[in-house]
């Protein structure tokens, strides 16, 4: 009720402002100097170590450009662009926020042979371009199974959590939807696609879950043993980090009943000054996005997970429907329901 009234007063953007109460300052920032005096300013949700190879590759082609790279959360990025922050390129994993920006006129259109080569599902209106497709996965430490087979569907996961609460109590992690734009996107899309989502949330809620802002921290905690299960982790991060460090003790599972596939997207903000350079970088990213051989780039190409997979679900659709869950009323209602499921403190266990 209280929230509803709040929403009455606040416009859409203000509502989004309010939701990130713990808004940090800019998380990370680095400048890659070039020979010339032009600077390409990028704001991105991808960590520096993930994106650095792309910047270096780009500077090989365009050594004259200084690249100024700023890491921010998806909500901060959204707010920065909406607030008129001057960036030449915004790369985000939160498709819904990117779409809202484009829809509301904060993006500039761009066309090239590379953008034309993109499949239809990977772009919207010459404003948004997807350059990676990453799926949400579950990571699980093998010990917790105690010999039982890996759960491959939500139903199996629910059964596992229900039957052995002692193994998982306090050791389950997932996104804090109030803080993470990507977590919220995953949750809303999942809730729309499978009714098992709410049942799973109830079950996790009873296990006193830990809530995270970011995939990276969840993966860290699984590796360190603080968590035995992390739900809805970004696959690319997980795979990269877990491969060497745990020696098979932690498994990555892609749910077979439904798995979200998120597209990492780029927009050129309306405030951009180095439009040509931003376009060139987008072209480079798209070329990599459309490559057939994954190679050793940190982020996977579009085709690997992007196209409708064997399990029959494609990436989250770019389109105005993504804005539905950003509506303050809908957001409040969804978060209310989620909070009820997750925080069952009063619930006697």
């Amino acid at each position: 009720m209280r929230y509803t009234r709040l929403a009455h007063v606040l416009a859409l953007c203000v509502g989004l402002l309010a939701m990130a109460a713990s808004a940090q300052e800019i998380e990370d920032h680095k400048s890659y100097p070039g020979t010339g005096d032009r600077t390409l300013r990028i704001i991105s949700t991808a960590d520096l170590e993930v994106f650095e190879p792309y910047i270096l590759a780009f500077q090989e082609d365009r050594p004259d450009l200084t690249v100024d790279y700023t890491v921010a959360s998806s909500i901060e990025l959204y707010r920065a662009i909406r607030g008129g922050g001057v960036y030449d390129l915004a790369l985000s994993s939160a498709m819904d926020l990117q779409l809202q920006l484009a829809n509301d006129g904060f993006a500039r259109s761009y066309r090239s042979t590379q953008t034309d080569a993109l499949p239809e599902w990977a772009r919207w209106r010459d404003l948004i371009f997807a350059f990676t497709a990453e799926s949400a996965v579950v990571i699980l430490s093998v010990d917790s199974l105690q010999g039982a087979p890996l759960p491959l569907t939500r139903q199996e996961l629910i059964l596992l959590l229900r039957e052995h609460p002692e193994r998982f109590l306090g050791k389950v992690g997932t996104y804090d939807l109030r803080e993470s734009g990507l977590g919220y996107l995953f949750a809303t899309q999942e809730a729309r696609s499978t009714d098992a989502y709410w049942r799973l949330s109830e079950v996790m809620g009873r296990l006193d879950p830990l809530l995270y802002c970011c995939s990276g921290q969840m993966v860290d905690d699984v590796i360190s043993g603080r968590l035995v299960l992390a739900y809805n982790v970004l696959g690319s991060y997980a795979a990269e980090r877990l491969a060497g460090e745990t020696g098979g003790k932690v498994q990555i599972v892609r749910m077979q009943d439904f798995a979200n596939v998120m597209l990492r997207t780029a927009i050129i903000p309306a405030t951009a000054q180095e439009v040509e350079a931003a376009g060139a970088l987008i072209d480079g990213l798209l070329e990599l996005g459309l490559r057939d051989d994954p190679g050793d780039w940190p982020l996977p190409p579009l085709r690997q997970t992007g196209e409708v997979s064997s399990a029959g679900f494609g990436p989250i659709r770019l389109g105005p429907a993504l804005m539905i869950y950003l509506d303050p009323l809908n957001r409040r209602a969804f978060l209310d329901e989620w909070e009820n499921a997750m925080e069952q403190d009063t619930d006697p266990r």
């Binding site: 829809n103 006129g105 389109g319």
Partner: protein, 456 residues
Amino acid sequence: MIRSMSIGRRLTLLLAGVAALLSLLSWSMVSGLARQAAARTQDNVLAASASTIAETLRSEQGEVRLELPYSAFSMLGAISEDRVFYRVTAGERLLTGYSDLPAPEPDQANSRVTFGNGTYRGAEVRMVSVRRVVLAGDRPVSVIVTVAQTLDGVAAISGQISRFAAGLSLAFFVLAVGLSEIAVRTSLRPLNSFAQSVSRRGPSDLRPLRPGAPAELVPLRGALNRLMERLAQSIRRSEDFIAEAAHRVRTPLATVRAQAEIALRSTSDAEDRHRLRQIIRAVDESSRSAGQLLDHATVAFRAEHLARDPVDLAELVNQTTEALTPTAEMKDIELKATTVSVTVHGDAVLLYSALRNVLDNAIKYSPEDTTVRIDISEAGAEARISISDEGPGFGAGPAEELKERFRRGGNTEGVVGSGLGLTIAADVLAAHGGRLDLGAGQKGEGACVTLVLPTS
């Protein structure tokens, strides 16, 4: 400029103009319809979207509540990639959405669905408002759900169809021009064949044109026929005139000659006789020239309707030799004819005058007391009559030129002539499909003129 332009070009241009007009018309109609259809589709989906939102309106504890259904926007996303804006107000209060989005003014109070156009955030948008009254507590609140969408999708679809229609219209136009070109050519064909049938005619063919022209050309045919009739008449009249003139000159000449001969016989004075002979010779020449003029007119006239009667050359030669024997005897010239019977088809009168002129030349150019030979032979499909004399021959100059009208040779000193004899003979033989050969006699002496005629 336009007057002298070809009918075909003018017709083609006219038809092309009509085709262009029709193409343009059909293109603009298809484009208009496409735009309308696309706009109506968008309106329907917008209305459906706003209605699905309005359906979620409910009242809870005296407050209006709603929830935007996913389908409301996904259906908009399905038809195009247009930007979407929305707003929900309860009474004066904004429930959610873009606070500054304008709502279309309802044209009638209380109408449930209202459409409108406007600009929002720098883009043209199509808007729809759905009004629903919700009971909040105990008072009714009028809730307006507005959904707006940019027009790029409609523009893209109608543009695409319009481009397609333009291509189609262009193809139609090109086809129409091609077909009209063919149509013009076929409808002008009778005119061309008419013109050809006129121009194909020989210079002296003045027969009326055969009937069978299309109705439009009948007046032209009539006019042409009348013109040719008049022309034929005037030619006939001038030929008649020449014939009449020649005849009229010859008759008194004959009288003069007869009188002179009588006088010659009745006088013995040498000087008088000499003078009288000169008179007789001059009269002969004049009457010969008049005869040749007459012959020439006859040839021109008869060659037009050439008779194809069987003519025996032996008989022809005998007839001619007989007629010219008196003239030959005057110079003590012997005419030696060796004849075989050969039949050709042609006009006996013309052939006679040809042979007569050639033989007359031979006698004229021969010295006294010589022989002129006339031989008939047949070889292959040709019959020949050769006349050879012992005169000076044609000399070294170009013999063919001697066949021209009024052309005389350089060997004619003292011999009177008109330059028409060989012309007449050559014309007659040409009208019969034969030819006149001029050459030297057997031992390279004298002249040998050969009349060559086809036998079949």
